[in-house]
């Protein structure tokens, strides 16, 4: 069967991923190393993610702020002293002016060298910590709940669009609390917010759990994540939430006077999701015809394609389509007005159809002159693109009947995409592995990575954990997280031979 893309997932998943991004016009290389241009369809999905996540953030009483792009080098020096594994791949600003050199070219002006280099923020704990130290005096100021939507830069040697780029867009929440319990509650609230967003809005099933010690954010006391399984069986860490203890508060001087008048250190948290989520959506829902966007995050949920003929009939056809558009836009699906586009551009309807198929619009309507005359619509669900006979699955329907069911249909697509992804993921969780040989055998099979292995382990730490990490690394495997909602475990840890105390997922990962 012929598909809209030239590469299928099973042939070459990595090439397929790039082709979806290119054919759906989501993003492209910018010509600037490691940075991408996010095109309207990709950015429109990000705007939907922002809108839905921002509503969740605000509903939790968190205030949006904006902090500087640049962080003085000395702020990091303090961090580097305290933190093993401090990442040093960052963009460094050293000059503030260009001048013309003797050949007429432009060069950084040696006279305009900064006394202290500035770092383009890779994350904002340090600079936000300084602000918190100014803002917090007493217990009355706590909790302090802030968030920012921003671009950040981490110099990456190997980049992949949406998944790992030198510049990316994200939100970073930063909060300060009076004690551990309150900070931990916020850490887990953010984690649950991410789980709900991923599952209810991105239709992407995830495990919410704690990362093993070796995967903690540098300086964190505990790091939690949501982990999603991509269609190639690899894991994607799709969001993280950190309980930072009092370490960052100590470094930045975030103190408060408690109810008894004593000075105490705040307990802080941070949590973030990024444009990486879009990569997750592609690899969760894409198929061999391109992207499929869950209706909750689709910039257009319905596209109407009039089959224009450049003749006298076009006017009536467009009027019919505009009326349909208005009737759809007046309806509510998934708690918001339906987002519908009437695509009046010049060009063949079938060509335009495949453009929208590749972009993954949930519902496509093709309307011909006869449909308009007979009060019909011809509707295509992107998640049910082909009939059993291989033909494109358009369903001719009475206009009024279609309108009456349209909102429910979009909601059904949202549910169906989730159910499909969840069934696939759950079928790809392998249990019953009892030794390293079994683990190796499972992942070695056909040089493919069929899914994840769920194990009970003994939660080793320190040197014992390092040994486990090294053994897994030799197999190109990582531990993902220990899910919060797992059932109690029994048996033996295959890494340490000690009694297992919790469930953990092992997988190859992005």
């Amino acid at each position: 069967m012929k598909h809209a893309l030239s590469v299928t997932r099973s042939e070459n998943f990595a090439a397929w991923y790039q082709e979806v991004i290119s054919e759906a016009e989501m993003a492209e290389e910018s010509g600037v190393r490691g940075c991408m241009v996010i095109r309207p369809w990709g950015y429109g999905i990000w705007e939907r993610i922002q809108k839905l996540m921002d509503a969740r953030i605000k509903a939790a009483g968190v205030d949006n702020c904006y902090f500087p792009l640049f962080i003085p080098l000395s702020y990091f020096a303090k961090e580097a002293e305290h933190v093993d594994g401090f990442a040093k791949e960052m963009a460094v600003v050293t000059h503030h002016r260009l001048i013309q050199d003797s050949k007429g070219g432009l060069v950084p002006d040696p006279e305009a060298k900064l006394e202290e280099p500035l770092i383009v923020r890779p994350t904002s704990e340090t600079v936000i910590g300084q602000a918190m130290a100014r803002w917090i005096q007493s217990w009355r100021d706590l909790p302090l709940l802030t968030n920012q939507w921003a671009n950040v830069v981490r110099w990456e040697m190997r980049t992949r669009m949406f998944l790992r780029t030198s510049e990316f867009l994200w939100q970073e929440g930063h909060t300060a609390h009076a004690d551990r319990d309150d900070a931990m509650a916020e850490t887990l609230r953010a984690l649950e917010m991410y789980r709900a967003h991923a599952e209810d809005e991105l239709a992407m099933p995830v495990f919410a759990g704690e990362k093993p010690e070796n995967e903690r954010f540098p300086g964190a006391v505990a790091t939690y994540s949501i982990e999603a399984m991509m269609q190639d069986g690899k894991a994607l860490q799709a969001g993280t939430s950190h309980y930072l203890g009092t370490g960052f508060a100590e470094a930045a001087g975030i103190r408060y006077q408690d109810r008894e008048g004593q000075q105490a250190l705040c307990h802080t948290t941070s949590w973030g999701v990024s444009t990486r989520l879009i990569g997750g959506v592609i690899m969760t829902h894409g198929d061999d015809d391109g992207l499929r966007v869950p209706p909750a995050i689709a910039p257009h949920q319905v596209v109407i394609l009039p089959m224009l003929r450049d003749d006298d009939g076009d006017e009536a056809l467009l009027a019919y389509c505009e009326d349909l558009r208005r009737a759809l836009a007046a309806q509510t699906a998934l708690g918001e007005p339906i987002r519908v586009l009437l695509d009046k551009r010049a060009g063949k309807a079938t060509q335009k159809r495949w453009g929208w198929v590749k972009k993954g619009v949930p519902l496509i309507l093709e309307i011909g002159g006869r449909d308009a005359a007979n009060g019909q619509v011809s509707a295509l669900r992107r998640d049910r693109l082909y009939r059993e006979d291989g033909k494109v699955n358009f369903a001719g329907q009475d206009r009024d009947a279609f309108l009456a069911a349209a909102a429910a249909e979009l909601e059904d697509i949202q549910r169906s995409l989730y159910a499909e992804a969840k069934a696939r993921r759950d079928a790809s969780i392998h249990r019953g592995v009892t030794d390293m040989a079994g683990l190796e055998a499972y992942f070695a099979e056909d040089q493919k990575y069929p899914g994840w292995v769920e194990l009970g382990w003994s939660r080793p730490t320190g040197a014992e954990l390092e040994t486990v990490v090294a053994r897994l690394k030799a197999l190109k495997l990582t531990m993902r997280n220990t899910p919060l909602d797992a059932a109690p475990v029994s048996g033996t840890c295959l890494f340490t031979g000690k009694p297992a105390v919790e469930t953990i997922y092992v997988a190859r990962a992005y």
Copy 2:
């Protein structure tokens, strides 16, 4: 009369401006040179501006995208060749890694020096031009209408919060068209969009017009602006829109095949507004008690302050206030649900009241136990803060009557703030100056800048214009713009002695 701020506008306008920002908790110095931290109240106003402007941008068919933060130096070298007055104060990234030096400090790693320095974008014409050249092939691809919301950096020696900071937030629209007429129409559409936003939403009267040749964006064929008068009589350029001709298209290779199959250069435009608008709002509407936020851009339009007594009565009082909050939130004002906050924080109601007065919330409700028992509210309009006797102007009202009128009251505040600002501005436009001595005398008076001078001028260019600019500069004056809707002029240009052809405003400016 005592006011909430320690400095009045008439005593020291610049110090007053800083105090509003600080007391309204809008922004603060970040400790990073030239960069500010935008706090929740300031950022909340920016979010409102973004939401309203973004709706206008999308309604015009412009697509949001995202382009890289970094621009290779060579892109600017090309521009510098072509553009006189090319600004060179920019943040230059030269390294991509830090290492520990021999003393344990962090320094840029000499091994990680970039082959080509990267510039932190001061504006994105060059990098967006490259993308347009890839995206545009034929006349069918035109017009191409893009916008991005982003942070940009221009190294500023003297900074002032919101008005001139090294990093600021803005939107930049970039469009490509088949011909001059279409590009000019877009340039003027964006200008009109800015005018409408400023006047209808920021309640800030502006003149929309063309900048004189010497004030054009480097490389532009024509630059238009909206210009607002601040309460100290100075002008604020609050938004610009540029018709760029074919110069940028030529530099970036933005060409298309026309209907006849010929290759042609696109005509491009760019247009932007920034967080500077917030400075304009402060200096247009602030008074000696702090900010006054127009309801259209107020993060909270109504704040309800229950006068809690820490006793048994509090529960009924809070229930009454929550009911009031719900009733207000269910109403629509200025086309959106009313944004209302029930402020339950601990602390004295009067202290909290003055906090909200300084932040400029349009309507403040103070509710005591007796009000709750009697079905009353006590309402304070921020724009009518004091009675004639100097007392705070609370109006006790029946709850139902208040609710019935609340939306209209907010809309009246929006109108009143605009009317007040417009009356003040119009009264401060001085006409009838016929020679340089008169101009000098007007602006010299008391070392104050009472307003602007409206002149007819001959639209000099080249060297003749430069002479005019220099003479004005000696008086610390600038030409603002030539308003589009001015009446025909007669008489003589006081600068050149030639017949006047158009109206222009002369003012001191931010």
